[in-house]
Symmetry: C2
Subunit: 401 residues, 2 copies
């Protein structure tokens, strides 16, 4: 009835068919491998309870009051310390900006950086919520395939050279270098250096989404690309959703002061500031070492669950499927035989009692029809085995159609 009043510019906001399908699972006996939720076992709830009590006893007048747009000063100081764990040094609180989850950081960054028609580079596949924000800016997408070491840098350099020889300018690359969502791959140090060299040579920005940088459970986590940045070219986003709890909705940006200033002006329009209480809880959690001390437990839980999922896939998936073996994060990505369209197969999987996210949502050009993303962080180990079993049966039936 009210449609006639809605902006033409936001008409891109349509309901997603996949979300509609997944809504059908609510209240039914469906094992969801489609989500991206952390395991509540990983929440340090007793420590948080103590922290909140201390905050409301000692400085409730600040914790419940309005605060500054860029983030509470002492919290930004602690974020300088936390970022150091990802190898990022030589920054001060002036390079830090606090957001409502890293989603708000991505929303703001792509809005202040990308104009319609701008050339942007994304991984194929890449994080779908980042793609969704970028799409609203109507850029020209350049997709780079992800291999075992992250984005294919030969392909990247070739693409960039082509664009440049066409007189085009690249604006930015959006990259998830560690435990990539959804592909599960991690760039090694050499590739990180090389990516930054290419960005420097052709003068474009690097938006580095480090959502899983603290969640590497096998081997060491390579330093953030931002740690290698001497030119202020890299804009880093981090999140508390995976290392503390998502319900506080806290993310942060590390960037050149010019970027911080733009973010500040934009966020005043969006929501004035990030909730003060959430910020103080996370600040105390860093200061008291709660986050740092809890990371080994989170990594152990997710490593065990990844192992359970990979073993189940090995047992129940057809032999000609491939899948990632992530060293961190929350997801396994699977490439099924080309014959299968995972979007079409979803309804059958739901009938069998298992949900996943069809992979095409993670491609700027909606390719990857035969791929799917599988979450191992939230379901119990029993659900992981049973879910993969149901999924394997669905796939095998689909292959025999």
């Amino acid at each position: 009835m009210l449609e006639k009043f809605f902006s033409k510019e936001t008409s891109y906001l349509r309901t997603s068919e996949i979300r509609d399908l997944l809504k059908l699972t609510e209240g039914r006996d469906v094992i969801s491998l489609a989500g991206g939720l952390p395991d509540p076992q990983t929440f340090p709830v007793e420590e948080i309870k103590k922290i909140v009590n201390d905050i409301l006893t000692n400085y409730y007048d600040r914790a419940l009051q309005y605060s500054t747009t860029a983030g509470i000063f002492e919290f930004r100081k602690e974020l300088v310390n936390l970022s150091r764990l990802r190898g990022i040094s030589n920054i001060s609180e002036k390079n830090i900006f606090v957001t409502v989850g890293s989603q708000e950081a991505l929303f703001m960054l792509f809005n202040i950086l990308v104009d319609p028609g701008d050339e942007v580079i994304v991984e194929a596949p890449t994080y779908l919520a980042a793609l969704n924000v970028m799409r609203t800016r109507r850029p020209n997408f350049n997709s780079i395939n992800v291999n075992d070491n992250g984005p294919d840098l030969d392909e990247l350099e070739k693409k960039v050279r082509e664009k440049v020889s066409d007189g085009k300018k690249i604006k930015l690359i959006y990259v998830i270098p560690t435990a990539q969502n959804p592909a599960g791959t991690t760039m090694n140090l050499d590739n990180r250096k090389r990516l930054l060299e290419i960005a420097s040579k052709y003068d474009f920005l690097v938006v580095e989404d480090d959502a899983y940088g603290f969640l590497v459970f096998e081997g060491d986590s390579p330093p953030a690309i931002k740690a290698l940045d001497k030119e202020g070219r890299v804009i880093y986003t981090g999140t508390f959703s995976k290392i503390l709890t998502p319900g506080l909705r806290l993310g942060w940006v590390v960037a050149h002061e010019d970027v911080i200033r733009e973010l500040e002006l934009y966020k005043q329009n969006i929501d004035l500031h990030t909730p003060s209480l959430s910020q103080f809880i996370a600040m105390e959690a860093i200061r008291r070492g709660v986050i740092q001390n809890n990371l080994p437990k989170i990594r152990r839980i997710y490593k065990e669950k990844r192992n359970v999922m990979l073993e189940a896939i090995q047992e129940y998936f057809p032999k000609d499927a491939r899948w990632s073996k992530p060293i961190g994060g929350m997801f396994v990505f699977a490439w099924l035989p080309e014959k299968i369209d995972t979007t079409k197969m979803l309804e059958k999987a739901l009938q069998k009692g298992v949900a996943y996210v069809p992979g095409s949502s993670f491609y700027a050009d909606y390719s990857g029809k035969n791929t799917m993303r599988l979450n191992f962080s939230y379901p119990s180990k029993e659900q992981l085995v049973e879910g993969i079993k149901r999924l394997g049966e669905t796939i095998k039936q689909e292959l025999n159609v």
Copy 2:
């Protein structure tokens, strides 16, 4: 250095000179009448402490986890109850949408509703942060003067008729009917009805900002315009910043389901959802009657402070100044002799040790050069008297230049 990378579309985001001036007050002996902060005395901190402890004991797994974009279901149920206190009935949780403060509601609404060139109606003066968001949409502003009973509805109807006879269509009016920020006026029931009749006759939307609807401390608060709405034409925004605490960053929208659906799709891009912990705190605060029982105390504190400010103004301001006598809210608005430019005078006031917001920021056309907004909710009574005394001296000196 990085300016070349920034979007042309967000170049409107410039630093405000006034904010730069006010930043100079930090750490100096300046009494600020420029803010809009609630008095921390009004925060029910012991009750909140108990609530958080109960939440983290009984359902931490939900309170710290991701939640749904529109808002937590049980919280939306309680918001139906809270909205009833403003006379709004015949709605369900499907008409409720939870936001990061009411600022996010305004940001989203003006983005989904307003296209460049659209005709919008605003009060003169009106809330500056709403104006700032609207400006980014580049509409055509139609300003309606505010008198003792809210916007001048004769002027409104005349303006609308002119536009219609020019073949134009009005998209919406943005209105703060109760204890208006900054003008301090409140629309009576008849005017609310008449405004809605005009909106219905000429088929435009009413965006009703009810930030101070619960904060009327003299006489009864008239029902929200939304309470009179039978056509789904009114979009209502409320906030917890003034009735619980601002640091939780909680606001809500009451609207037709079509609007809620658009908001949901947009918010998925912005920040996925409003912090779960904040929502559960406010939910329990409604459920346990904490908010309802605390309102009389808030009203008493603000009524006393308003009285102190009005008495001081009466004593120290020049006789040919006028000012509002608000029956609620947090602000007094003053019209000084035309000779005075309050933006130019601000630096002198700061030197005398008092800050205010120059009124022109509250006018879409930056008129109102001789006006200023004065906050009485946050400073102590002693500060209110001393601040107004310093301001009176500044004004009198300025008049004698």
